[in-house]
Symmetry: C2
Subunit: 225 residues, 2 copies
DNA sequence: GCACGGTGTGAACACTTGTTCACTCATCTG
DNA sequence: CAGATGAGTGAACAAGTGTTCACACCGTGC
């Protein structure tokens, strides 16, 4: 039980069926089902395993859900971390970031479909876990903001408010994108351009922002709430 | 069956249990359950009715879900329509709109919890119905935008892109707000201020926007995607 | 090489589920 | 008032559910 090189084959096989269970669940969710409506038996059936085996890996379905959040968010964090290290200001960088992000989404479609679905639709623990991840992205992004000329002078509170605005915009666009058929590159291109423009508007607004800013009186305004 | 004044008591009682079924479902969803995981029997039990009675009102649970979307969106549309008629540009109006909207949310908490949960978490028809409603709000808002000085000169495409940005921001804030305990006015106040500032940033960005705008080279930029 | 430990098995359990049916009885129609 | 109408009832059904159990098997550690 303590040995280092030991438990090789045994453990590998265990992780294999564990992965099969997680994939079975995530595929169902990506296929339109909500995680809460999945039955334990259904998941084991798709994973090619008998129901009783499930308990060797997870206490119950909630535990499976949390494991899925962990795994999918881990993938996402890897991308974000890579992107943060190569951050250079400018418009071309923004457009490029949107491009690589949307490409990443396409190659991890099921994972994002799961996160999008369960972000508000899931059980309380799952929702909290995802919210914690999103909050982490916001804080990190605010720190990155602080490194740039204008934004460096703003209080952390304002930076987080703008980072949250930006992250929420990306997440919203993500939700819309995932509803579209996977193989309509033209519609997806339009979505990408729309998201890029929205981020441009946010950054433009951020550049005009000072602590305590109020809108000009007559200029333009927002009619409905 | 054709009579006009007829079917008074009969029909009233029917609508009454129909309403009981809808409320039972929406209360469960507001209480944390996802609609897809609700069982027909569970709903009828909470409504104080025998399972077989369900079929007098809805073909199946999906039909109930769609009816709930219809009803909740109808409430929301009433508020929006009222707000649109009293639209006056300016910063105080924006802050006031946020205030009345958040108050409205508190008095219709369960309905918004249902919409937020099922927007991405629900079945395909439900998701499509909600998406259609949101799309409608975006288009209306874009039309309202067009009435103001600077925005009137922008192409419809740009206006809808900004309206979508604004609506998504409100929806995101709504999602965060609903996760908070219902009786923490201080935290809710902070959320309201944050949302107001985010909308200000968007409007500021919109005022600086011209068709085909790109970000200035060195100024400030967005690091992560 | 052998006994232990743990993953996967198949059967069994008590329960809940969606749907159907003949029925009652208050309400509407003529 | 008498008969038709249809909302709500209670029982029944097959099917699916989560969970438990003794057991078979094979990789692991001595």
């Amino acid at each position: 039980m303590v040995a280092f090189a030991g438990m090789a084959i045994r453990d590998a096989k265990k992780q294999q069926t564990r992965q099969a269970l997680m994939e079975a669940a995530i595929d169902q969710v990506a296929g339109g089902r909500s995680f809460a409506s999945l039955s334990l038996r259904e998941v084991t059936r798709d994973a090619g395993v008998v129901p009783a085996s499930f308990y060797r890996h997870f206490r119950d379905m909630d535990a499976l859900g949390l494991a899925l959040v962990d795994e999918t968010c881990q993938q996402l964090r890897r991308l974000i971390r890579a992107a943060r290290s190569t951050s250079v200001p400018g418009d071309t960088m923004l457009a490029a970031s949107v491009g690589t992000f949307l490409l990443f989404v396409q190659t991890h479609r099921a994972a994002f479909q799961f996160l999008t679905r369960e972000r508000h639709g899931g059980s309380r623990p799952v929702r909290e876990a995802i919210a914690r991840e999103v909050r982490g992205f916001v804080v990190d992004l605010a720190v990155d903001f602080a490194r740039y000329p204008h934004f460096g002078k703003l209080p952390r509170e304002d930076l987080e408010m703008m980072a949250s605005l930006l992250v929420n915009t990306v997440v919203s666009a993500l939700g819309e994108l995932l509803e579209l058929a996977a193989d309509h590159p033209d519609v997806q291109g339009a979505q990408a351009r729309k998201l890029t423009d929205q981020l441009r508007v946010i950054v433009l607004g951020g550049l005009a922002w000072r602590p305590g800013t109020r809108l000009p009186a007559g200029a333009g305004a927002m009619p409905a709430g």
